[in-house]
Each structure stands twice: as C-alpha cells, then as structure tokens.
Amino acid sequence: MKIAVLGAGCANCEKLEANVRKAVAELGISAEIEKITDFTKIAEYGVMMLPALVVDEKVVIEGKVASIGDVIKILKVQV
C-alpha cells in the first residue's frame, strides 16, 4: 500500500502524519508512507485544503486532521 500525507509542514499536517503512522503500526500492515509538501504535486491530486491523505493515488481525506481511529477505518476499507 502506498500512502501519501499532503501538507505544508504546519502543526495540523504533522499531526495527521503522526496519526497515519500510528494507524499503520496498529494495523500491522506494510505501507510506504510519503510526505508531499510540493504545492505543484498537491495540486495534481486536485487537493485544495490541507492536510490531505492519499492512499494508492486516491484522495481519501482533505482538509481534516483525522484521528487514529478514523485513519484505521479508512485504511481497512482500502485494503
């Protein structure tokens, strides 16, 4: 699974990244987590609100710091 956290380095974006890492650890799945801060790339995903979460090239969260529980739910659906 390929996961990308889209953000510009503000506190909210870092919090989402931390929650994603914890969720992945809790699920025990193998996933490649990437952080994207480049605005041109962020635009290529069609995202206008940060932070955002992309799983296997699909935007699943936009403009929200999802909790660990919410991220786990989303990742389970994608598996």
Binding site: N12, E44, G46, M48
Partner: protein, 321 residues
Amino acid sequence: MSIPDPLQIFADWITYSVLGLAPASPLGSTVNFFIYDSIKVTILLAIIVFFVAIVRTFITPQKVKKWLGGRHEGVGNVLAALLGVPTPFCSCSAVPLFIGFVESGVPLGITFSFLIASPLINEVAATMLFALFGWQIATLYIVSGLIIAIIAGIIIGRLKLESEVEEFVYKVKLHDREQGEMTWRQRVEFGISESKCITLKVLPYILIGIGIGAIIHGYTPADFLVGIAGPGNPLAVPIAVLIGIPLYSNAAGMIPIMEVLTSKGMAIGTALAFMMGVIGLSLPEMIILRKVIKVKLIAVFVGILFIAFTFTGYLFNAVLG
C-alpha cells in the same frame, strides 16, 4: 428585561450557595462571572458550530472555484465573501486554495475577497461576540467584515497585480477529481463531529480568556482603560490592529478579555479593530502566501486590510461611542 435567566440562577447558586462566596466581594463576582460566561459560550458554540458545519458539507472548495470561475467584479466579490464565511482553512491551505482558484479562472480580486472573508468572519468569533457583546455587535462585525472583504477584493482586482503572482501558479494543472455527494446522515455526523472537535479545541483558550477577563473584572476600577484605549485617544485604533496581527492562534481567548476591557473603558470600535487584526491578518498565512505571490502583492494585501480595519474602528467609535 426581567425574564429570569436560568443560567444566571445556576451561576449564582454555585457561587453564593455552594461555594459560599459573598455576592459583593471581588472574588465572588469573579467566580460568578467565570461560571456564567464559560457555560453560556460553550453551549452556544457547540450549537452554532454544528449548524455551520452542516452548511459547510454543501460547499467544498472544488465547488466554490467552479462557482467563482470567470465571474465579474462586484457580483463575484460579494459571492466570494459570502462563500468564505462558512469555509474555514488553516493558514497552510491558503496556497492550494489560491492555486486552485487561479487555475480555474477565478479573477485575482475575487480570489482575495474569499481569502479575506474566510478567516475574518468565522462562526467561533461570531458566536463569542454574540454571547458576550450581544447580537448587535456580532451583526455589525459580520456585516463590516463582509464589506471589507468585498471592497478590498475589488481594489486588489483594479490594481491589476496579476504579474505579482509567481509564474509557476499559472502553469499548474489542478486535477479535477470526482467527489461523491454526502447523504444527510453523513452531513449530520460531520456536524456533530465538527461541533465536538472545534468546541473542545477552542475551549481551553476561551476558559483562559474568560478567567483572565474575570480577574480584570473583579479587581480593576471601571475607568481603568479610559485614558489609554478610550474614544479620546485616536492612536489607540491603529495600535490595537498592529498588536492584534501576531496574536492569531489565540483568537477565541481574546474576545472574553476584550469584553472586560470594553467594560473598563476601552472603546468598542477599538476592540473590534483589534479583533479584526487578530483573526483577519495572520503572520503564518502571509509567510506561506509568499510561495505563490510576490512581496509587493502581500504588502498591498496587508496594507489594504490594515487601513480597512483601522477605518472600521474609527467609524464604530464615532457611531457607537
């Protein structure tokens, strides 16, 4: 008005019966004030944030950019300012929003009307003003905020500053992605989750603000600020706006303190201008906007808002003072 206020009865009961404080003492008045204000603000916030969040489920930024693309000056600015109200963004989202708008042909001035209205007028600030200053001041704040966003956007549009946008922004292609419509059940769930999340997030700031306000309320004389921040000091308004700019993160906590400061002699227009500086202009947003616009346009943006907030402060001091 002689309608009994159940919340006041409850606050009186806790302060004077349960805690046994004397009604006339500074401590008694401080504690009573703290209990009353914090419960009132929390209940109102939870309710209003819920309804605004429901409205927000209908307004995604992807829809906004479609609605605003190719609009003309005037109607476009009014629409942008109105759509900015229920749509908040954290400062780092200013850049992807800006790129998305420019990319789908939203004129620069209309983009700025949205970017100004969105942080300046938000449900948390409006609720706090309503709870602590009454509906007249809350309405005045919202209406003047909208007028500022509309006029500032029109001015920026007329200045023809398109060359002050970084080149790469015009080359970016925004992927147009499909977004499914939410069901009503999902909208309500979103409203509840936002209400809980936002209320809990701002609550510590509000409690600290109300706490500091309560102490000032109980322990300082009523004319404490008349000399420095009263209607008689014309420099108070621009200085208040300048002090407000770096205080961005504590907007929710500022309003209870301002309520008390106005009761101690600070002019209401000065207080509102200060609030606009706190929430309408933020340093992190300006720094991050530098990635997409050049320094000259940032300076124009900040300069116009500084003048607008100061003017609004003077106007309210003259009309209400």
